[in-house]
Symmetry: C2
């Protein structure tokens, strides 16, 4: 069992890293007067332990966390306690010299109502609060180690995108094209996992949108929609043949190590109308502008309004961030989850902070042609946004121009 | 927008099907004195509408349900009402002649604490109860239409498995083998989606276990474990080369239409010790026995105890359902979610019912060889279990014996 749960905690390097994260969370806990928080959602277990295990993490307002491991994740390592069920946690805390918390934080937005109710019942005398926002806030600013993992994602993600054109064959469907890209991603080490907050983010290994399918709204919280191949998953590729004169938007999964990058590139099937090419270049100009102003202290809303202003100046506003249906954001924090803080939208007046990681995706939907635009994942630095997904952004042509 | 939400509801055939499902749910609601239930989890939205949309379904104790659609899923179709947010639901219900429910069912086990709290606040004078168990009960017995979808899954799932052997090359890693199978699945129409209840069921497109990796416990609620390729997803293939003398257990995703089948087959790399072959044949004998006794009225626990008894009689008990770590069930209901009711375990004394669909997976882990055994998805009929995953169960040899 050593190989699953214990490994990350045993390595001194990882211990230091986890101390850093726990320290950040404890600082935020003080602001909200939490005496302790009890974590159980996979994304936050991963954040606080470096892996997924069956059990919970208790973080007191000061001092070291306690890891409650339920079989088959048994361990007697320092900081870990084996329990059979969550109901034992309160008494084990006391045996370990911890006061029962009078104000306990639980993950209201990341666990089911049943699971939270069960944890509440373990501490009947405590007052409760929602710790999900604090964990999102803590996770929004990455440590050096986390940045290094996302940098690794960006390199692998780019390596796969550099091979995409070779997958194309004439008269392919969008889905066939996507499947070949999925295979390349998986061979490069992509875990094939999409961790995302909320119930509106189901997807398989990514979104590939061709032609007018890009103009079909979907019920999910992605910037782009798509009909999907089945009413059971109405999003993304719809299985139609990719016709000359259309664009393909490739926005595939970038999770190689539990962190992820988000990257979109576009291709033309043959040639496409000037309007689509102009909009694609406009997306790149928007990114260049935002890369400059995206420094610590910038209001998040400024990124959004700057992007909208550029699209409007170029007469492309009616196509910006969707055509039949428009979304109200142009990007999002990213890390363990695809949709982290901050959301890049007009009414977000929070400030960018050093080492936030954000995906920015100024996209256009051109009727009867398809979606165009670029998405990169960035790190916020005092010198502007640092691009972690540096692969070539040009919208080149597939089809006749492509040779083996 | 017609193409996403409305299609299933407009088709008369689907209308009749959904009426059948709503009727089943209403019968169960009466038993628990619910005046109404308000649904928001994707699996149950799909069950009650035939697709995924942004919004909620309200099912009254009698009469037709009302579909609350939040943009971009706008519609003015009969039975559908456009709302901007859930807070409008109560007043819209009254405008449509519905009494506000005095006892309201919400999906405590399928929605986050935050989401349930928000829905509760929309009906401040109601009493609340958990409707998740009723929906699971209703979903556990399939309609003729649902059976036909699962039958289709089984045919496609089998078609892919019939091509697996051709993917094998000597000195492949388990992960490389899995990736080629994933590609075949996707090309056959597999949606690449795993819907499952609870937080302990993360996985990509399936589990492929080779050699001793099958003996590594994982934190997830699958019968088998595996180290995985990264601490971020500690389950399944671990990226090691598949060596002669080991077995490969192939248990890959069977979701082609929102319903799914679960099917496991095994292969030998070269040849393996007799013990492994004997255990594999024992698994098949267990299935043959359970197929006979699995009729409506049989206690679920009898399937479990019969399987354990056969494994014990053949001297294989120490390897049954895991070796270092054993799980306490040999199968599970399956349909929209991978893990539906009933769980096939000793302390489940509920009775099998006609048209329940269950996956049965008597598996063995042989140290230093790997996992062996077969899993099929069955329909419960008065003549015994009908196999929906009829592909050949023999454990044939890959490697030297395999020719193009």
């Amino acid at each position: 069992m050593i190989d699953t749960v214990i490994l990350p905690l045993l390595r001194q390097e990882m211990r230091n890293e986890l101390e850093l994260r726990v320290g950040k969370l404890q600082t935020l806990m003080k602001e909200e007067s939490f005496d302790g928080v009890l974590i159980g959602a996979n994304v936050n277990l991963f954040y606080l332990s470096g892996t997924i295990f069956r059990g919970n993490v208790y973080v007191p307002k000061s001092g070291e966390p306690l890891y409650f491991l339920i079989s088959p994740s048994i361990s007697c390592q320092k900081g870990c306690v084996a329990v059979r069920k969550p109901e034992q946690i309160a008494s084990v805390l006391m045996e370990n010299g911890q006061e029962p918390p009078s104000r306990l934080g639980l993950e209201f937005a990341d666990m089911t109502y049943s699971d939270i109710s069960r944890l509440k019942a373990c501490f009947p005398n405590a007052e409760y609060g929602d710790v999900s926002p604090l964990l999102r806030k803590s996770r929004s600013i990455k440590t050096a180690y986390e940045i290094s993992r996302m940098r690794e994602d960006g390199i692998k993600h780019s390596a796969v995108y550099s091979m995409i054109d070779k997958c194309y064959r004439e008269n392919m469907t969008d889905l066939e094209f996507q499947i070949e890209i999925e295979r390349l991603l998986r061979l490069e080490g992509c875990l094939g996992l999409l961790r995302a907050a909320g119930s509106r983010m189901e997807l398989n290994l990514g979104s590939l949108l061709n032609g007018d399918n890009a103009d079909v709204p979907s019920p999910y919280d992605f910037t782009m929609g798509g009909r999907g191949c089945d009413p059971a998953l109405p999003v993304g590729a719809d299985g139609m043949t990719m016709m000359p004169g259309t664009t393909v938007m490739i926005d595939m999964n970038g999770c190689f190590n539990g962190y992820q990058t988000d990257m979109t590139r576009c291709r033309m099937i043959g040639d496409v109308p000037e309007l689509a090419k102009k909009a694609h270049e406009c997306s790149r100009r928007i990114l260049r502008s935002l890369e400059k102003i995206g420094v610590p202290g910038t209001e998040v809303s400024l990124l959004y309004t700057t992007a909208v202003d550029i699209a409007r100046e170029e007469g492309l506003h009616e196509y910006f961030m969707g055509h039949k249906h428009k979304v109200g954001f142009i990007g999002h924090g990213i890390g363990i989850e695809l949709n982290e803080m901050p959301v890049i939208m007009e009414r977000n007046n929070s400030l960018l902070q050093e080492n936030m990681t954000i995906a920015i995706e100024p996209k256009f939907v051109i009727p009867h042609v398809g979606a165009v635009g670029v998405e990169n994942t960035y790190r916020v630095t005092s010198g502007g946004l640092e691009n972690l997904t540096t692969f070539n952004e040009e919208m080149i042509s597939l089809g006749e121009g492509v040779k083996e």
